[in-house]
């Protein structure tokens, strides 16, 4: 892992160009605050893998948190106001977050929420796509989906007019944690 301040600056710069909103937060309770703030009065969806591994987040969200129903993961959280997911890597070269997801419920949160918060630890920042390729190959066999997400969903299909938010989330918040 590259962890120089140059990589972080580059990551923030590139992510901002891709229209992600970048936050540097110290702990999961700050993430919960951000999520609740963005959700207004609505619920916050959290990926099952994150809610299992991160009690600080779930307890801070309290009863405002919702999780996909494993029997019907997509419909149960379709169009949640805010979704919180954890990224495996952040890539300075492109300002992207790599999501590594095996559980369809995790995918539901990252693909269907209107506002997405992607959280990545500061020590998970890599400088280049080459390192991402190495990481994906090293995790081969245990990984059915790896997605590099770079900014919110967008289209320019009508008269080349760039419009943010089509099928995927229309607001993307990148949280660098720690």
């Amino acid at each position: 892992m590259t962890n120089s301040s140059i990589s972080i600056d580059e990551l923030i710069r590139r992510a901002s160009v891709a229209q992600s909103v970048v936050h540097q937060l110290t702990g999961w309770s700050n993430v919960a605050e951000l999520a609740l703030d963005l959700a207004g009065s609505e619920a916050v969806a959290v990926t099952p893998s994150l809610s299992a591994s991160c009690p600080q987040l779930t307890s801070a969200l309290g009863d405002r948190m919702c999780s996909p129903d494993p029997k019907n993961p997509f419909e149960s959280i379709a169009d949640a106001a805010v979704g919180v997911v954890e990224g495996a890597l952040a890539v300075a070269e492109t300002g992207s977050i790599l999501l590594a997801q095996d559980d369809p419920c995790d995918r539901a949160v990252s693909m269907l929420s209107r506002i997405e918060i992607q959280v990545v630890n500061r020590d998970r920042i890599v400088s280049s796509l080459d390192e991402v390729a190495t990481w994906i190959e090293a995790n081969e066999g245990s990984l059915s989906l790896a997605t590099l997400v770079t900014g919110p969903s967008r289209t320019a299909d009508i008269e080349r007019s760039l419009t943010i938010g089509v099928q995927g989330p229309s607001d993307l918040h990148m949280v660098i944690l720690g």
């Binding site: 995918r107 390729a133 059915s144 900014g151 299909d157 009508i158 080349r160």
Partner: protein
Amino acid sequence: MSIPGPFADRYRAALDNETLSQNLLEFQRSWRETRDKQITDLEEIVQTDADQLRHELAVMKDHVIEELSEHVKQFRVAAEATGAIVFEAGTAAEANDYIARLCTERGAETVVKGKSMVTEELFLNEYLESFDIKVLETDLGEWLLQLDNDRPSHVVMPAIHRRRQEVARILEHELGVPFDDDDIPAMVKSARTALREDFLSAGVGITGANALIASTGTTLLVTNEGNGELSASLPEIHVVVAGIEKIVPTTADAMKQVRLLARSATGQPISTYTSFFTGPVPGHEMHIVLVDNGRLAMAEQDWSSSALRCVKCGACANVCPAYQVVGGHAFGHVYTGPIGLVNTAFHHEIEAAAGPQSLCLSCGACETVCPVEIPLPEQILGVRRLVAQEVGIPRWRRLTMRLYTSRRLVALGTRLAAVATLPFRSKSFTKIPFISRRFASWRSIPAFPLTPARSRSTLRSSGDAIAHTKATGRRVTLFMQCVSDRLAPEVVLASVDLLRAAGCEVDIPSDQHCCGLPAIDSGDDENGRRMARQTLEVLAGTDDVVTPSPSCALAMFHDYERLFADEPVWQQRARELRDRVHDLTGYLTGPARLPDGTLARGDTRPVAIDHFCQSSNVLGRESILDDLIRSLTGADVVPLAEAEVCCGFGGSTSLAATELSAGVLKRKLDNVDASGAQVLLTDNPGCLLHLRGGADAASINVDVLHFAEYLAARLPGR
């Protein structure tokens, strides 16, 4: 969507669509700027020259193509190990049958689709619909086109030919609510709402793939909207349909492609979603349909195999001047743009590839931006030859070319034309009141000189050397070029004067004729060889050969050797000639470079310099002519926007597709007009007559000259 109609209808419809060319012009200009910026950015990121990156990607793809069947096997084994089910489809019918059977067996009533060119190639939607399966395109552009029973006109920007007002009406019709013509965000949002239910209820999701990774059995998919990821993730069955040429060896190789793909496609450093799917998630099924449909045949032929490197970025269309005028429905078939002129011949009937061939101007721009270095201009000529063999060249065209191979007939014909049009002479033009508007309204016809250059007495009188150059004392054979000789003799005279001024001895063989390029360009190799042989005989035993026409020089450089692939003796002569041929620009900026200050100054008119497209795109020349003119004459050379973009002459194209030629010319003349120049210089005689006639017809007040004329007029004593 429907199967494309006859080419003539599509061409006519494109010309009738007034906003199409304007949309595409703006698009091409902004794409060029953002793409170039992103490519420079990439060079800084990876500290490697972009041409090197393009080359590495090409080499990697070639390695796969050379052993395509082996790589298919390798991918298949790896993908099956992940739990995916792999089906190899030899033909479109096999692929369609497999997918339709899967849908019906699993009881899927609705299928959601991510954008996929290969399924367009298969006409999969129509096939599935014949089983009463509802097929929904989910890429915004594709969805809009599907709602209006239209087809994509660009590989990456499918609906670029549609205006927002049309989109608003389509949505109103579909959704039953009014849309403001200017509220594009509302239109986009409506797609999200309308498609969300279908995503959730669909039984099958079909996507394409941008790459298939052989070592891991992974499929790579890139989108900006997220629709591909939803189509892949939400339904319980994910079907990936991909051409076998999409295979890359490793994830690292796929990343190399990712770096160039979005930059070449949309001018982004990376698309919003770059997804690697490796096998199904628990409880889901993943099927991978590997499509051949002509690809193995394409891989087996040397001339066409490299077209399989294509990563479907659409960059070739984004710089194609002809595409800008008529768009993808005319310029291509299912696959549009320059690459469509090539691969259509393999994935569909040869007749489908035949029509649009006349639209390529052979300017070579496509090859310069291709991220995998596909030699598109050469391959387009290959398809033209294939069309000539299998569909045939129109009889009038072949006959015209056959007649043109005779120097005597051409001499007689131009002489007769000169006499017949004498009453209609108006300065340098022929103004015949009753001639077809299609041919003359946009480009004035040049005056036919009564005496061709070869018969001018001044050609024989010796001009004086004015300075010592590296070429002083050299014996130069001038290949006049047929067009200059008969329609622009002043170009020949000026060339001779300049060469003599540089101290050369100039020979002008009187039995020279045409290099054969017009025939070669139309796929008529038989007549091309006739003229090439004549030219090789005339130029046998000469030293330096110089021509004021770079397009003839390029034919001798690039086409002659291939023309005589089966005739080793002639091929050897072609190789020997290649090493001795120079175009005048190259010669005057090289060995025969006159010292600065040897030409008279005084003409203060601002000068714009058109960069002959093939010199820029094929020889990689940038501004050598600008530098020469500036330093020899001190002229005020003003910047000309899109100087390297083709002027629309394109040899026989300007006769076969006149409206197209006129459209491309207009772009050039608008740029010339905006430059403020009063003099326009070019170094290719065909372009010269085309630009001069166009400027006259458009009443643009600019003096269009061959650069040799401009320079020769400043020789001492003139």
